[in-house]
Symmetry: C2
Subunit: 225 residues, 2 copies
């Protein structure tokens, strides 16, 4: 497993002490999320859309309808930027200037390729589904040929990426730290929780909730229920 | 208050039944969030970065260091895309193809302007701070002239925007709904919660946690603690 080897645009210049260079950090941030923000350029302007994703090794998989213009554009060999962010808390400082957030974020740059190999398409779709809902792929009905034909799968190598993490208390100026003016400072932690599953109204009432739903993971890496 | 008047690029073509056209829906999605994903085009490639924001009426304010290349680029009259997403649940379907998420998202397109008027700069910074931490602006030390000089404030009109909301149970094919094969389907709801505030280690132990921190709002519009 190699370190992240930053290129010019994946080198963190703002607050570089927050940068992480381990590939394991990139994987951890990606694996903790279920939604990324996919950026593409359409008509010289940026378009940023939320979408699901999944990871296999050092490849990120995205999927979408073959009718989605964003996916179509991304499949045409254009550069994309995929960003995953977890907000872990609001950092209350003594000074407005030093308000911040604790967060983990990953930014991936690259030109995705449209996956055409049937086995890789299935593996990519499985990765996306399992990232959103671990255990679901083997429980649900597999995609039909018609459904597969309506779905684009894109693969993005995790070659060029940056990771930024802030986990600290507020970073006020020393003169504010020692002012003794009673202003509160600290972190208000935040996390995602999952609530009790809500069965589909069309489901027979005696259908048990499977363990992969009731004991599934919590996005963001939060504590389990 | 006018409806959102979609342009070509802000017209939702994929699953248009999820589109919302009320300006109030746009405001609600924006106001429920604390982090947006800001997309800009740098060297013909997209760059998507998480950042704070605030809203005053139909203007979205962003701020950042004058040294940040993303903010500098956005201040140069280039188009941006600002996207705010709340994931409200994972939709488990009977078929892999119909897995989805319940979510609320807003996508804003436009060319931001660099705010130079001192009063608007302060108002914009206040909006950003208060969106992250309501009540904080009047509690914390206001920005100094030097701090203000190091901060860029951008204003983006909420003229061109789209809003998409999914709140439904799974949308499986009828043949799967009635298959009676015991596959579970439903929604696993998700929300953000805030935990007990963690005081700065440098804070005197008897400093009370102010109400705006302990009783503050929960991002995503989740239920309060």
């Amino acid at each position: 497993m190699s370190d992240l080897s930053p290129t010019d645009r994946s080198t963190i210049r703002r607050l570089p002490d927050r940068a992480r260079s381990d590939r394991a950090d990139l994987h951890a941030v990606l694996d903790a999320g279920i939604v990324c923000h996919l950026g593409i350029v359409l008509d010289d302007a940026p378009l940023v859309l939320p979408t699901g994703y999944g990871r296999i090794g050092d490849v990120l998989y995205l999927h979408g309808s073959t009718g989605a213009c964003s996916l179509r554009a991304a499949a045409e060999g254009r550069p994309v930027c995929v960003t995953v962010t977890h907000v872990d808390g609001v950092v209350h400082a003594r000074s407005v200037f030093h308000f911040s957030m604790n967060y983990r974020s990953a930014v991936v740059h690259g030109v995705p390729r449209l996956v055409t190999d049937d086995a890789e398409r299935l593996a990519g779709l499985r990765a996306v589904t399992e990232n959103i809902a671990p255990g679901a792929w083997d429980h649900a009905r597999p995609p039909s040929r018609k459904e597969l034909a309506a779905t684009s799968v894109l693969a993005l190598d995790l070659t060029e990426a940056s990771v930024k993490v802030r986990t600290a208390p507020p970073g006020d100026d020393e003169s504010d730290d020692t002012a003794g003016d009673g202003r509160w400072a600290g972190v208000l932690p935040m996390r995602t929780v999952v609530d009790t599953p809500v069965p589909c109204p069309l489901l027979p009432g005696d259908t048990p909730v499977p363990a992969h739903v009731s004991e599934g993971r919590t996005p963001g890496g939060g504590r389990p229920r």
